[in-house]
Subunit: 225 residues, 2 copies
């Protein structure tokens, strides 16, 4: 069974977990706090990032892009429609939105929320900076407007079928949701989409996540949130 | 002929240009300053990022990941060995290092240098912040040590053959080199590698780049730098 070095609230780890769950690949999970830069992680990945997938070969698969491509190559079950569309235009639209989520949304929202609310818990005397969290929240509102606009004209993020781009967005939004940073009352079309993707069996693994001394917001695991 | 919305010093645009040149795909080039957020770009790409590849289909290919995958799918000539290795382990190592370059090196070095030295030229009264540039330079030194360490044991960034990871790194280092931010005297093994990749025909297009009122550092286009 492949094992995954991950952190429960790391969105890249969550994306890989969703992908594996959808493809029916069981994972041995090992929790890591990458910001502690422990030797165990640095030896495998000097970038000190997650996820790291340890498969059948001796060489670990390091990082999000390598993991996505390896899982797609090795583990897509032939019986299931894959998460990467065959039609070139749809595939390009999927990569555009994956890039949006893993670069832009991460850069403007998720990384700040995680730094302030999670990483700082391990730094003696550090407390979340409300000014940073305010900027992240304002940025998130702009992103939600764009996602609402997309979901007003399409069933899934990159078009009419569910793709890896949906899992990328779900990975980030579920982390922000755990931490209570999403106002679902104002989330419009994105709420309907999230409700659909949250009900998928692949999502169950994420809904059981708990971070020590930081329980999720009340509706986190609720399918009727 | 496909056309490319690009900026001469944008590393993601440079990566796509190198890839197309290597595969023998001619490009119509249209220069854009993405930080001005002009309507022409925003209509195509609300993220206001480059590159945007406009191919035969009506729909533009937006962003680095979508462009890479589209070029690989549509334009790899059958006569040439592709830039993405067939062997799964080598391919995972290539993606690991592409991610290193486009996330980590960009995030810790290139984006700051571009912001301070290029973007600020278009902001009335703004000048480069020496403190930011000092941090970027210190970060670059750490990255160069890692690249030197890799190149001490392998001919190319991801292994024994040249891959897209080499082009990713060359795209970033060539931008930094244009701006005079690389001390080649201290660059060790990375200098030897850069000398090899700079001599490739695919590189010529980059060496002719000029930004208005900001000529490249003296050795930029020199193959014997």
């Amino acid at each position: 069974m492949p094992s995954l070095l991950h952190h429960p609230l790391d969105p890249s780890s969550r994306l890989v977990r969703l992908m594996c769950a959808e493809y029916g690949v069981p994972l041995d999970m090992e929790e890591i706090k990458p910001w502690l830069r422990e030797a165990e992680l640095l030896e495998i990945n000097p970038a000190a990032t997650l996820p790291v997938l340890i498969g059948d070969s001796d060489t670990p698969i390091v990082g999000l892009l390598a993991s996505i491509h390896t899982i797609e190559d090795l583990y897509t079950p032939s019986a299931v429609e894959g998460l990467i569309p065959a039609e070139p235009g749809q595939r390009a639209e999927m990569w555009r939105l994956i890039e949006w989520v893993i670069f832009k949304l991460n850069d403007e929202v998720t990384r700040y929320v995680l730094e302030e609310k999670i990483v700082k818990r391990d730094q003696r005397g550090a407390t979340p900076d409300p000014a940073v969290l305010r900027v992240a929240k304002a940025n998130l509102n702009e992103h939600m407007l764009y996602f609402n606009w997309l979901f007003a004209t399409r069933a899934w993020l990159a078009g009419d079928t569910m793709t890896l781009a949906d899992f990328a967005l779900a990975a980030h939004l579920s982390t922000l949701d755990y931490l209570g940073d999403i106002d679902w009352g104002k989330a419009g079309e994105t709420r309907d989409w999230y409700s659909r993707i949250k009900s998928r069996p692949a999502f169950r693994t994420l809904l059981n996540d708990r971070v020590v001394a930081m329980p999720p917001q009340r509706g986190y695991a609720d399918l009727d949130f």
